[in-house]
Amino acid sequence: MPVTLRLPAVLAKAAGGKTVHEARGATVGEVVGDVAGRFPELGPRLRDAKGEPYPYVIFYLDDEDIRFQQGFATPVPDGAEIVVVPAIAGG
């Protein structure tokens, strides 16, 4: 069963203009890789050169930031929704 990756509007331009994408993968990293593979411009906006999440691009799964779970190695249940949230921050 596919999972859903929901992007913020600010990233939709790099993803064919769509905010909601069906994807496959056993972990958050695999799901991100699946969608990024279809939209080459999107990949560098979701993960850094080492393949890790950026500090201020937050991935939510089960109502918790994956940073406080297992990062991109966090398992994704069938049918789950991963929500990408651009952090609103400043100094």
Binding site: R45, I58, D63, F68, P86, I88, A89, G90, G91
Partner: protein, 148 residues
């Protein structure tokens, strides 16, 4: 250009003064034509404690809106037809100005993270807000605008 009015600004001031040793943050939203102030928890300390390399600042000199609460606000506004008018946050003992970090965190690829949103920065000194400044995105950069 939106007029905030004394009631809205007083509400934001009160929220900043309620937690004067940490940066407070939130939104001014418009629902059904009326402005409303929303506070969002600043979770900078949680992220700093978890990963100080990626998040070197604490809530004393930075804010990071709780992404979960932020997401709820977006969802509620989408459902109700409301919109974010402004992002507000306080500075502790350093005055009200739009810092380099404020600018860097508000723009992605030259576009506003929250299109059309203004920023209100409140300076807290000695537990009291003594300065409020307003910034708008204009011509590719944030410029100060008269606060009304």
């Amino acid at each position: 250009m939106v007029t905030y009015g004394q009631e809205i600004l007083a509400r934001v001031r009160a929220l900043c003064e309620a937690d004067p040793e940490r940066e407070a943050c939130g939104f001014v939203v418009r629902r059904a034509g009326a402005l409303e102030v929303l506070a969002v928890p600043n979770v900078a300390d949680r992220y700093h404690a978890h990963d100080p390399a990626q998040f070197p600042r604490t809530s004393r000199d930075s804010y990071l809106m709780d992404p979960r609460a932020q997401l709820r606000v977006h969802e509620e506004l989408e459902a109700s037809g409301g919109e974010i008018v402004a992002v507000w946050h306080s500075h502790v003992e350093v005055g009200a100005y739009f810092s380099a970090k404020d600018r860097a965190d508000a723009v992605v690829d030259g576009l506003q993270l929250l299109p059309g949103a203004e920023y209100l920065v409140l300076g807290v000194r000695g537990g009291r807000v003594d300065e409020v400044r307003r910034y708008r995105f204009d011509g590719g950069d944030f410029v100060e605008a008269k606060l009304e």
